[in-house]
Amino acid sequence: MRSPLPLPTAVAVVAALLTLSACGSGSRDGAAAEDTLRIAGPFEVHSLEPAADGEVFTRLQVSETLVTSDIEGELAPGLATEWSSSADGTEWSFELVEDATFHDGSALTPDAVVEAVERAAAVEASPLAEVPIEQIEADGSSVTFRLSRPDLTLPAVLTHYSTAVLAPAAYDADGHVTEVIGTGPYEVTELELPASISTTASPEWRGEQPAVAKVSFQAVGRPESRALMAVSDQADVVFGLEPAGREQVEGADGVRMESSLQPRTILMKVNADHPILGDERVRRALSLALDRESMADAVLREEELAATQLLPPSLTAWHPDLEPLTQDQDTARDLLREAGWSEGSGGVLERDGKPLALTLITYPDRPELPALATAIQAALAQVGVRLEVEVTNSSEIPAGQADGTLELALIAKHFALVSDPLVDIAAVFAPEGNDWGVMNWHDDRVTRAIDALLAGGSESAAAKNRETIVRTAHEELPLIPVAWYRMNAAVSDRVEGFVMDPLETTWRLTDLQWAS
């Protein structure tokens, strides 16, 4: 029996379907590719609230903060052109920029600023909630903050994205943000939470129109997918590549890697009150067991990122001349023996019949953390320490701190969430401990030095105080530094003028040009 097969028909239908869909979008891509800057990054946008996922909108230059930071990390004018404090530091006044307009056409008024900043101050997670604000007042063309205690860090705190100023019309009756109406050079045209945002140059922008008129942002969760987008010209700027992806980009044409050292350190947070880890010798032994250079080379593909002390050299003021942290497994074993640990079964040290076993928790948000954790696990096994690695939600770290069950945590701590590292350093070394800093550890010298720095004073005294803090931490190791962190992005050759801002306050899209 012979008859025309349905098979060819089926194949034809499928082929037609595919071609159709491919063509349909092919033309769309072509149109988009010409004048749209396509950005891909790992972080999804789940909320429009500035305190939640606001960073993406300041980075895309949709919303602005009163103060911002320049490429060196110094404070720079944002919506405020200048600021000053009273002699006792309890009253700060910020002069607003003239003729700034929200994307809905309404003018930026001091009242709108007060409203936005007060909302940020009411969110516990915002650094502004830590500032002892008594009152915020609109005052002619400026905004005045009255504090109950002097606080020199206020302008730096106001660089944080949670303090971005949105138009009053951006909020609904319950105070939820329904639309991101900012003052920046770009305005939102299309928004599809959680994965995509499109913006275009705003006609309301008070400055010069940017060369790149359209921008699209897409959140892509898997790092290998992002690397593919970079090498196959499916995105112009791709953030957050893993080492393997970076190698792919370096081997590809038409795309290059840009990077800058970030004020971020990957470190082991230690419970200094733990029966095992309370002993400083054990902490030093753990530190000496790590071959940081090999770890940095294998996991981060860059030997220079091996941390020799707590803060990276890019934070010059906080990077004194110290004896670098190195690997010395013999000394590590000696220290552990001194601390009472002796040979046990299965290569794990023992004391009073109990094995030297610890749990390290870390989180997968940054792909290098679980990778480094397995490297640390292997390194510690060599000196007889059994380490359980638990990759979990990042929030287990503050939770473990609160109930005291945390032993070790591998975290990537950003030391300039606001532009001045002092704000974060003060928090990290707070005597009562900090969720992303020390745990059950304090040192009077460090506390005094931080208080002195917060109170201001001469530069030479400040330098001395900074060194005291870093040196003490270096010797007692309440936080064991592992590696520094390099921010990187793959950038297409279609784009010129890309600058990596180490603080990532904005992606500086207005500086970009199309390659001719």
Binding site: L5, P6, L7, A10, V11, V13, V14, L17, L18, L20, S21, A22, G24, S25, R28, D29, F43, H46, S47, A51, A52, E55, V123, E124, A125, S126, P127, A129, S162, H176, E192, L193, P194, A195, S196, Q218, A219, G221, R222, S225, L228, M229, V231, S232, D233, Q234, Y363, T392, N393, S394, S395, E396, P398, A399, Q401, A402, H414, L417, N434, D435
Partner: protein, 322 residues
Amino acid sequence: MTPRGAAYAGVLARRAAQGVGVAGLVSVLCFLIVHRLPGDAAYRIAAGRYGYDLVDEEAAASVRAELGLDRPAWQQLGDWVLDLVQLDLGRSLVTSRPVAEEVGYYLVGTLQLAAVALVLAFVLGAGMGVAAARRPGGLVDRLATGWVASVRAVPPFLLGLMLVVVFSAQLGLLPAVGHGDAASLVLPALTLGPGLSGLVARITRDAVVEVRASEYVQFAHTKGLAERWVVLRHVVRNAAVVLVPYLGVQAVILIEGVVVVESLFAWQGLGHALVHAVFWRDVPVLQATALVLALLIVVVNTAVDVLVLWLDPRPRRLEATR
């Protein structure tokens, strides 16, 4: 009521009862399990909201107070059920957006992908099955058997990775990830479709072989109708009676299976929502997503029952398998 009408009503009543039962079970189960999950929910939710750099004890405490997480569990569950009865799914604990809006968005993504993949699987599988059935044991049949075994042996994520490498990385024809435009739908659909086509092909083949061998097709032959007409009229219609239930099952597998493909291709669907909701302890979103998934399965099964009844209205025992 006609017997046929009674049969339809019976199916609908039985499925409706199942739907209500499952909805209750799933939402209560989700709630209870999430409450027993290790870790402090307030911290999880705060991390989901503000990003991990900014979560501390105060932020968690304010989240706990705002959402009333320290109330007894039965009170929280009771509130949710009361709201549900009024068709209010509440707001997401993490994003503060209405749950119905969020889950609806993900549902559309899932349905889009599932529909395209199902069509692809059906066209590919049925075509191959009918072709293979023309000569059982022939070359086409053996090739089809090989295909069925291969697609069954390869997990979708592996197929997806291979497709990405070939079509996106090497040839640069299609976007590797994305959501929204037609081109970004091609690779996810191609990843899911072939996996399902194997089973469709196999069932179609067997059904067609059987139906063809049966008397009335032989009878149609002797009547002298063109053979193509025989295939279309009798074989396809009768094979469909067997095929439709399987297609229903395929749709169910598909709805669940998309999570992998969603992750690989950054496609926004229910699987994505489910994984995030568990991770962040976003109970309302989790309950709603699970509810939607379960109801979707019930709806698909109902549609299958009704369709089978329509295709083949002979009386039968209903409770055999599904």
